[in-house]
Each structure stands twice: as C-alpha cells, then as structure tokens.
Symmetry: C2
Subunit: 250 residues, 2 copies
Amino acid sequence: MKYIQSLQNPQVKQWKKLLTKKERDRSGTFLIEGFHLVEEALKEEQVLEIIVSEKIGLPPRLEMGSTEVIMVTEEIANSLSETETPQGIYAICRQPKPGSGLSAAKTFLLIDAVQDPGNLGTMIRTADAAGIDAVIVGRGSVDIYNSKVLRSAQGSHFHLPIIRGDLEDWIQELKGKNIPVYGTALEGASTYTDILQSEAFGLMVGNEGSGVNKDLLSMTTGNLYIPIYGKSESLNVAVATGILLYYLKK
Amino acid sequence: MKYIQSLQNPQVKQWKKLLTKKERDRSGTFLIEGFHLVEEALKEEQVLEIIVSEKIGLPPRLEMGSTEVIMVTEEIANSLSETETPQGIYAICRQPKPGSGLSAAKTFLLIDAVQDPGNLGTMIRTADAAGIDAVIVGRGSVDIYNSKVLRSAQGSHFHLPIIRGDLEDWIQELKGKNIPVYGTALEGASTYTDILQSEAFGLMVGNEGSGVNKDLLSMTTGNLYIPIYGKSESLNVAVATGILLYYLKK
C-alpha cells in the first residue's frame, strides 16, 4: 500500500485542488469524505482511489475489492476535510457521464438556482427517497459536487442521475415526450392538490429567495403552489420539494 | 438616543451573554439578528430594546413605536453577530411565558431530541406554514432560542407558541383530551397515508440519527412511516415533518 507523509506530495496537492469546482470539472472527478459516503460510492463502483488516515487504518467493514488504497498522515487527511470532525477516510470518485441512466426516466426534479448547499443536497436525497428517476440542476445553483452538497445528500449522488443542464432545453424535451412539467410559483398557480398525480412528470423548484425564474415558469405545463395556513411567508425549498414530490408520486 | 462606544460597557457584556443558553434561561430573554427577524418581533410586540450599528443608522421602514433604540459602534455590533455578513441590527426579546396561547390549540408538533439547529428552525417554520397551533420541544433538542434556530425559523418563533416540555406529559395530556398522537417510526408503523386526516392531532418526530425514543413511541395512539421508494435510507427530519404535516392537515 502506498503511504504518503508529505503535504507537498503532488498527489496530495491534486486531491486538495478537488475542493474547487474548477478542478472537479477539469478532471471529471470529485472528492468525498466519511465512511457512509465512501461505502455508498463503493457499492456503485464509482471509486478511483480510497485515502485513509494512518490514525484510523483500514476500515474492516468496507468492501473495497481491488480499489487502490493510499494511507496518509493525519495531517494530510485533515487537510482534505471540510468538516469539524474528520472521519479520516476519503475517496476520489469519477463523475458519471451526463445522460447515463436517463433513457427510461419518467420522473424528474428540475432545480433552478438553488444556492444553499445544504438545501441542494437535501433535495437530491429527497428525490432519491421519493423514487424520482433523475435530478436536473440548472445554471446559478451551487455545484452538485460541492462537499456540503455531497454530505447533505448522504450518498444519493450514487443512486440516481444528477445532471447539470439547461432547464429551458429540458422543459422542451420533456414536453416533447408528453411529460407534464410543473413549476412552483406564488402567482397564477394552482394549489398542488388540484393536480392529478401521474406516472411521468417533471417538477421544477427554484431559488430560496426569488423562486423559479419567470421565463422558465412561462414554459411549463402548469404552475403549482403550496398553501400557507399560518403566518410564515414561505416554506424552505427542500421541505416544499418533499411535500410536492410525495404528493405527485402517490 | 443612547450611544455606546465601548466593548467593556456592562450592557454590551450582558447582550453578549445572551449568546449562551444559560443566560437566556436566567434572564428570560433572547437576542435576534437581522432586519426580517426584528420586523417580525416588533409586529408581535415582543421586543424590549433594539440595537443598531452606527454604520446603518435608523432603518426607516421599521415601525418601532416607543421601543428603546440603542446605537453602537460597528465593532460592538459585529461582536453580537453569529453570521458571516452581519446586517447591523439586533433586538433583545422577551421569551413568551410557557402556556400562553395554548388553551384553544388542537394541532401540535412534538419534537424529540432534534440536534441540528437548521433542522429545528426549519421544522418550526414548517409548522407555522402548515397552520399548526403549537410546537413542543422535548429534552435533548438544541435550544429553541439558539441563533441558528432563530434564523432558520425566519420569524416563526413570533407566530405560534414554541414550548419546551416533557413529551411524556404532553402525550398523556393530548390523549386525555381525545387528541390522537402519532409518532414516526420505521418498525411496527403504518404508512402515513393510511391515517385519517383530522381537525386535531399531535405529530411526534425525532432525532436525526435514531428517530423518536422507543419509550415515547410506545405511548402514542399510533406510529407512522413515510415509504422510501428509492435507495436513500431515510428523509431529512424537516422534510419528513413537512410531508406529514401537510398530509395530516389537508
């Protein structure tokens, strides 16, 4: 097993670059952190290499197959972490190719400009739980491979296709396949429970402050809103996504 | 208007102590930060004093009535902030008395040991949106007046009673009034859509990792679960709360 002790090692420098979107895009890879995420990534065979701190050693319960494992000092391990209590285990994963696993997809979550990584990750996890076939993330959203998005999604990145895409193109494409696309809006929208549940649909949700872009809303099959019965002005976007997906999927 | 320039001023020291639960409990007050929260607190007449940074001056659009306003240096203002981009406005609020506004309450959210402040705040905001009458927060949960809980709840603390309480006592009390109490569980539970929606109910949700305490689950009218259709292991607790409250309230 390779053992790296220097923070100046070129491989360590390369791993650290993966904390930036630019390098993740260039290399087509991303870095994950923690037992649970590494376990989920291994199940789906997306792992290129595993990095473990010498402090924890080789975790016995992980089924690593022939994946390369590199041991590093605790200092190096901590330098890769973006959490307060690093678990000492990381993996480098390949980004799935856009379009893989999409041919049979019938249910879609479309995300317009969601900027909080905790929200985006929770929405991906929720789409997974609701059995949605694919998540399309439009311009202006936080990067899907941001470490906090990955942590909040708790492994769902490895369970369903998460794709960066142009939402205008996707709305056209889904409507062309007779799949209804519903936006979420406060004006000119129907109460969500007035919509018929169906086998195939796209649900589009948007930015935490301003909602879905108006040009996109004008392209949908229809727009929905969730009634507010109390005095709060709105719902958190991940909570709203959960209410709508579980209603539409029923 | 009072103007404070020294970080050593006793009033400044007292405000800073409100960043701890201990002092919030002792004084029966809490500190809020930002325009939106201060505005919501003023509407509900819960504000004892307003603190503004000299950098922003008096915000014209706030209706402050006869509430005392204290101007402070930017340094003092920033020392009270727990955000990365302080807005320079704060208020000291009184904690509502436990029990106020509860006599006519028919719908309750009971929270067992939710530890993430963002989750607890989002759950309070969601209960407000769903028109729930009161939120009961049991032992082992993060403090309801924690600054991140307050921010995530976006003012809902001022819209409905949020009460620290013993959940065993509350389950007994609600059942004594013929109000059904539903726990959330993975084993021995019914799919939530099998439950009849009703005018009066208590919904109990629990800790992010371990769910609701088993002793509490054994006391409920019945326990519910939300089906997982995909590969994720569970839903975020705030998302689950939204799905269940909006279903039960329908």
